[in-house]
């Protein structure tokens, strides 16, 4: 566990970020959007070679997208989660695919499709799961699946389906 403390102290002193310990092997850090690449490169150097997951949370009331990067270190057995907020109107962020390779590339491609976040520097952001989809990115909070399904697939005059409109 001393190694974890080392990472904690050197990380927070180098980049001026507050690192929160949630429980054993779980660290959380909120960072600025502009520092993302520097911090990512530094963390990878320190052994966080595995990008476990990349996720986007749509905080529609704040008008922000929150990106979370879950990084695992195989040497120290610690997971650190980087969180950064970007504007919801113009969701652009630098790609980390130069640091974590194809692993990051494919995660970013998924998030681009489902949330519409643009990752600058990612070579391939073509559609992944959705075929012939031209509407808004469907995982955004203001996209209501139920309304969409009602309009697109259900018929109000159909006896069996009219119940969905009550």
């Amino acid at each position: 566990m001393s190694k974890k403390e080392d990472i904690l102290s050197s990380f927070s002193s180098k980049f001026d970020v507050k690192v929160k310990t949630q429980r054993d092997r779980r660290l959380w850090a909120s960072i600025q959007k502009k520092d993302l690449l520097d911090i990512s490169a530094w963390l990878k150097e320190k052994g966080f070679t595995h990008l476990s997951s990349l996720s986007v949370t749509d905080w529609i009331d704040d008008g922000k997208y929150e990106l979370t990067y879950h990084l695992w270190s195989y040497t120290d057995n610690v997971l650190i989660t980087l969180k950064t907020k970007i504007s919801r109107k113009n969701p652009v962020i630098k790609s980390v695919s130069s640091i974590w390779g194809e692993n990051a590339q494919i995660h970013e491609r998924e998030m681009h499709e489902l949330f519409g976040v643009k990752f600058e520097g990612n070579s391939d952001l073509s559609p992944l799961f959705l075929e012939d989809w031209s509407g808004v990115p469907p995982f955004k909070k203001d996209f209501d699946w139920r309304e969409y399904v009602k309009e697109k697939f259900y018929d109000r005059n159909n006896e069996r389906e009219s119940g969905y409109y009550d």
Partner: protein, 390 residues
Amino acid sequence: MLKKNSMIEITRGSLDTMTNQIKKSTDNEYDLYFGPAHPGSGNFSVKLRVEGEQIISARADPGYLHRGFEKLMEYRLPIQNAVLSDRICILESLNWNLAHAEAVDELMGIEVPPRAKYIRVLMAELSRIQSHIIWYGVLSIGLGFDTGFKMAFAYRDYILDLFELITGGRVYPAGYICPGGVRKDIPKGAKGRILKVLDKINEMIELEKLENPSLTSRTKGVGVLSIKDAIRLGATGPVLRASGMKTDVRRDDPYEIYDELDFEIPVRKEGDAYARYLIGIEEIKESIKILKQVLSRLPDGDFIDSSFRKPKLSAKMPIGDVYIRNEIARGEAGIYMVSNGGNSPYRCKIRGPSFLHMIPVLEYLLKGAQIADVPAIYWSLNICPADMDR
């Protein structure tokens, strides 16, 4: 029936011009689709650019099973999501049940009773064994070794019988591992039956030891993944261990009671399809070891947290977020759950191991391979289109 005069006569000369035209237009390259109509590909296809027998490039085409569970979970209560989580991967529903339940437990700060923890691990390991048996089965049939497939599915049925006995469902446990513990206690007599089934599984592994040449000759040296590439491409679980990395979430990031259990992490250095297949067989043996320990130590007590004994429909989740990592049969499962204080999760990101194994890893391994090696590479990765698409 075709009439004689309607048949197109192809003369030797016209055939030559036709083939010449095809050659010219494609420059001897063509596209070959592996799946989604392939009998074993699952709901997934990979487009291969082929020159002769050699694959120049591969492009995965996922999305045939995209059900949008992550978004669907935002509309539903945790008790409903537990049932949904079965469907993330059909072949190991209990493992995904566990990952989902752990995320809710941690968000809500529920202390799971010890007996529930043991039952959870028991079910997760049984699920791992049956998933690895399917892996062995589909790899065998992909390589034309029909006996292996039939043997695997026959022995898997013994475990499905156990699932039916304990959870009520053979494939889908309908949220048996739910927030707070497990839905019901294991019935009397289940312990003896589990031990009997484990003997059966041992029997299968003994049979498998015959090392059929049709399996070994087509997997040795095929689809070699170096450890450096494996990490860069995001490989986890058995695929990463077959490339020489000694890592296992159960050991490195223990959850439930895994830190109290004694088991080995099988590792191989070769990184080829054969190594991955051997890792699968070794892991079945380790899971049997874990199950025997769990059964001998199974404590008495409650199987579910008392506040969850009656299903609560409006249990507000405190504001916060958690990231859960679990070792499932296919690799690392992750669930990132965010709550804004409502009844349902605000966001639930599911990280399936096959998402990386089926897109970057598969594309990388297929590049430069022969068409005949596609099945060996494809099924040796132990993939599941369901947890990729979610």
